[in-house]
């Protein structure tokens, strides 16, 4: 089967194995079939040696969290994320992965009213205890009502996205308050950019993702304002439009995208000079979302931005190993996802922190489901700012 992968990218792996300790699934299972090196060898076997696409081979691809921790560990700079996305696109195209119900659910994310209404229904069902939240990895409580998004200026866009906007709008509002405290006028993207397509590309739905990328770009065109993103997964997806679409327009769009911490790290002085702040008396462990650390490679901005606002920021000692959330992965591969999460919660316990700061909604929901107190880093900053004001 032709997976349509770039042969130069595919042969770049020299099988050295330095990725192994950075792969969450290999660390859990110890099996080569669940390792980046193994997955690449299987892709090669299929594409170049005509190996059969067996069910076991498909499992090997499906179990990948797509955290891309292997990429930062790789001395050969193998673009594993692109290889895996290409492989999944080929497998999904052949109907071998991503079942119909999942495709339908992902389609729903493109329709904002449907998502909002569905989320409210889900929130209601959760309150009525009709949904086994723990088993499905859903939050124990979801908002029934969402305060409206409002525009405070036109210095920057704040990308609000789909699920996060429906489930965690409070975070967007906190982020917006922090930006405003730095003297920045914010326009939330809302309906102008309904969904970035990150979950779709992970599921191998390439043409859908391209449609969505076009729609987002059209919604945010007309000026060159920075587009700030407070969800690491969405930020990574938006920054990849240049590669996904391969056009100058898309590359120019991607160049406007910043993780909000990345952007704020450059504006920290404005924030601090306007508002002398008493730091919150908290020890906060920073969890690096993979799509911030391994894909955007901007994770160092989080502790930098957070440090002035809490008494102590601690790093986890697990080399940024994935937490197992992986967007829809926590639902599709629940068992592995939880085994991976246990290592992360153990690292949090070792750190002695009482609060975990996570800059990605997927990670934050996944970790909070274990009972940890997980907040968006800028929620903590917002809290410090507002308590200083009071």
């Amino acid at each position: 089967m032709d997976l349509g992968l770039n042969d130069d990218e595919l042969v770049a792996c020299v099988s050295c194995g330095l990725c192994l300790p950075h792969c969450p699934t290999f660390v859990i299972t110890g099996r080569d079939t669940e390792s980046p090196r193994g997955r690449i060898a299987l892709m090669r076997a299929v594409q170049n040696e005509d190996a059969p696409v067996t069910d076991d081979l498909i499992r090997s691809m499906e179990t990948c969290v797509q955290c891309r921790g292997c990429e930062t560990a790789c001395p050969s700079a193998v673009p594993f994320g692109h290889l895996m996305e290409g492989t999944r696109a080929a497998l999904a195209g052949a109907g071998r992965i991503t079942p119909r119900w999942q495709r339908l659910a992902l389609k729903g994310l493109r329709h904002r009213w449907l998502l909002m209404a569905g989320s409210t229904l889900l929130a209601l069902a959760i309150r009525l205890r009709l949904v086994p939240t723990r088993r499905l990895g859903l939050p124990a409580r979801m908002p029934l009502r969402r305060p409206p998004l409002r525009t405070s200026g036109n210095d920057v866009w704040l990308f609000t996205g789909c699920v996060m906007d429906a489930w965690q709008r409070d975070v967007h509002l906190a982020v917006q308050r922090v930006l405003e405290a730095a003297g920045v006028g914010v326009e939330p993207t809302g309906a102008a950019a309904p969904c970035c397509g990150a979950l779709h590309i992970h599921a191998g739905l390439e043409s859908e993702t391209k449609d969505m990328a076009h729609r987002v770009m059209a919604g945010l065109s007309g000026d060159d304002r920075p587009i700030l993103v407070d969800a690491a997964g969405c930020g990574a997806a938006l920054k990849d439009y240049g590669h996904l679409l391969g056009t100058d327009e898309a590359r120019a769009f991607s160049a406007r995208v910043y993780d909000v911490h990345e952007w704020l790290a450059g504006h920290l002085d404005e924030l601090r000079s306007r508002h002398p702040v008493a730091p919150l008396d908290l020890t906060v462990a920073v969890q690096d979302p993979c799509h911030l650390r391994h894909v955007q490679r901007a994770h160092q901005a989080v502790p930098e931005v957070l440090a002035p606002f809490v008494t102590r920021v601690v790093a986890l000692d697990d080399d940024g190993l994935c937490c197992g959330a992986g967007g829809a992965y926590s639902v599709m591969e629940a068992e592995l996802s939880r085994a991976i999460r246990e290592r992360k919660t153990a690292a949090v316990a070792r750190s002695g922190a009482s609060v975990v700061a996570s800059a990605n909604p997927g990670c934050s929901l996944h970790l909070a489901a274990t009972g940890l107190d997980v907040r968006h880093p800028l929620e903590l900053v917002d809290q410090a700012l507002s308590s200083s004001r009071a």
Binding site: V14, S15, C16, E49, D55
Partner: protein
């Protein structure tokens, strides 16, 4: 050869397609690879649990290879034992079915030592990765063989000690694999290789009995069977627990980067440092092409314009380290160093080492494939040897990146090439052979630390006499009389097990068929 193999594999692959469809939702389930294996797999599953056995083509395909370019391995069922008892059970089942057993750690070996021949039962040690016990009073820790080298040193760090041998692959490679290959590493110059750090090994022999070789006393009585076992590449039994020596962390470390316009100046500096009586913890050399590849990945501040760099580390008491550092700097300047830099802090030091240790992988920034040799030459002849290597490689129209443990003359010439180019494989093998022969002619040895495996098996006769090889085969047979442990490795076929012919024949089928 690789091309022919690929064709065979592809052919075999097509035949198997469709014959083994099954439920996709049971990752751990493992029906037999083929009818002949059904009973074997069932027995293995009964012995250690179904979730610890995989017999599907994808798992076997990946267990058939390591980090070398050898691709003729052919794994049978792959087991993931969790304990010594599991290993014993697997060996018993394999024996009952007349099958050999090949151990596998992280598969980072560079000589095909973990590439199974003849569809043996593969025992992956990745699930035996615990630190069993730390005994600080006696400076010993017992570890399971699947523990990753770097994880061990990290676990020991709070106690102020570490495990000294540090192969470049230490972030991924396992202690069991280190024992099998008697692995070295940059810091083995001062501290010695694996055999100097393994006090005792618990081993499952081919008759499934469990023995402990060596003990924790300073002067064990009797023959040093532990010494015979370390470096035996899995052919004398399977290590299930290893007692390693704990080395106190040095109070002070100084890491220096010396850069030169000429490779021979760098080589002369190495010789002068040792002649001066200094014993650095490590002296590593990289040539310009290697530095360029490494710097692109690690951004450690290596100068891409130097013809050669030396990474020198001295450790010990602070006063001694400072004096040694100054002496080394002076020697380097006397030998026309264009710059001498000392790492300012741990961070810079870590970056420099990260660059050095990612050299093999970073080759892919230059070419998609590489073939690596590991010969050892007398340190005093380094310049001559390097010039010969460049000459050989030029003649075969190939690229070479040189990175090596200069302090002990252990070369790692990396032949970088693209196997998709017609004739490239042949040229690489021809150049490799010439490099080995030249190294041996200079009074060197076949391998410093990567082992013989299958890749260098054929060169053994070049280094050892018939009598030597026969004696080695007899030593091996005294551990494993029926050649059931990782058969087909190290010894040239005329000297190894009688069943090699049969093993080879079954390999032709390939894992997909």
């Amino acid at each position: 050869m690789v091309r022919v193999m690929a064709r065979t594999l592809a052919e075999a692959t097509r035949r198997v397609l469709g014959s083994r469809r099954r439920d996709t939702r049971s990752p751990a389930a493992s029906p037999s690879a083929d009818a002949g294996d059904a009973a074997l797999v069932a027995d293995l599953e009964a012995a250690i649990g179904a979730d610890r056995v995989r017999a599907d083509a994808a798992a076997r395909y990946l267990a058939s290879r390591d980090a070398s370019i050898y691709r003729e391995g052919n794994a049978g069922p792959v087991c993931y034992p969790g304990s010594t008892a599991d290993v014993v059970a697997c060996v018993q089942v394999a024996t009952r079915h007349g099958r050999a057993v090949s151990p596998r750690g992280a598969g980072t070996g560079l000589a095909g030592g973990a590439a199974p021949l003849g569809q043996p039962v593969v025992l992956s040690t990745t699930r035996m990765d615990n630190l069993i016990e730390i005994d600080l009073d006696n400076g010993v820790a017992w570890v399971q063989p699947g523990m990753v080298n770097l994880d061990l040193s990290r676990a020991l760090a709070p106690h102020g000690v570490h495990y000294a041998p540090d192969p470049s692959s230490q972030a991924a490679c396992t202690i069991g694999g280190n024992v099998a290959n008697n692995s070295g590493g940059p810091h083995c110059l001062a501290y010695g290789v694996t055999s100097a750090h393994v006090l005792a090994v618990e081993v499952v022999l081919s008759d499934a009995s469990v023995v402990t070789l060596g003990d924790l006393t300073a002067e064990p009585a009797g023959y040093d069977l532990r010494g015979a076992f370390v470096g035996s590449e899995g052919m004398c039994g399977i290590a299930t627990a290893v007692a390693v020596r704990l080395t106190p962390n040095p109070p002070a470390v100084r890491t220096m980067l010396l850069c030169f316009d000429d490779v021979s100046d760098a080589a002369a500096t190495v010789t002068a440092i040792i002649a001066d009586g200094i014993v650095p913890a490590a002296i590593e050399m990289m040539d310009q092409r290697c530095v360029t590849a490494v710097e692109d990945f690690a951004q450690a501040g290596y100068p891409k314009d130097a013809a050669a760099v030396l990474l020198v580390e001295v450790d010990g008491a602070a006063g001694g380290v400072a004096i040694a550092g100054e002496r080394i700097a002076a020697i380097a300047r006397r030998n026309q160093a264009i710059s001498v830099r000392t790492a300012a802090d741990d961070d810079e030091r870590a970056r420099l080492w990260k660059g050095r240790k990612s050299a093999f992988g970073a080759v892919a920034n230059v070419m998609p494939d590489y073939y690596l040799h590991d010969t050892v030459v007398p340190r005093t002849r380094l310049v001559e040897v390097l010039e010969s290597i460049y000459e050989i490689v030029d003649r075969h129209d190939l690229l070479v990146l040189n990175v090596f443990h200069a302090g002990d003359g252990n070369l790692h010439p990396i032949l970088a090439y693209d196997s998709r180019v017609p004739g490239a494989d042949e040229r690489v093998h021809a150049a490799g052979r010439e490099i080995i022969e030249m190294s041996l002619d200079m009074g060197g040895a076949l391998t410093g630390e990567h082992g013989i495996g299958v890749e260098k098996r054929e060169y053994m006769s070049r280094m050892f006499s018939e009598v030597d090889l026969d004696q080695q085969a007899r030593l091996r047979a005294s551990f494993d009389p029926h050649c059931r442990m990782n058969p087909g490795k190290v010894l040239p076929s005329a000297h190894s097990c009688s069943d090699i012919g049969a093993l080879r024949a079954s390999d032709a089928a390939g894992v997909w068929g």
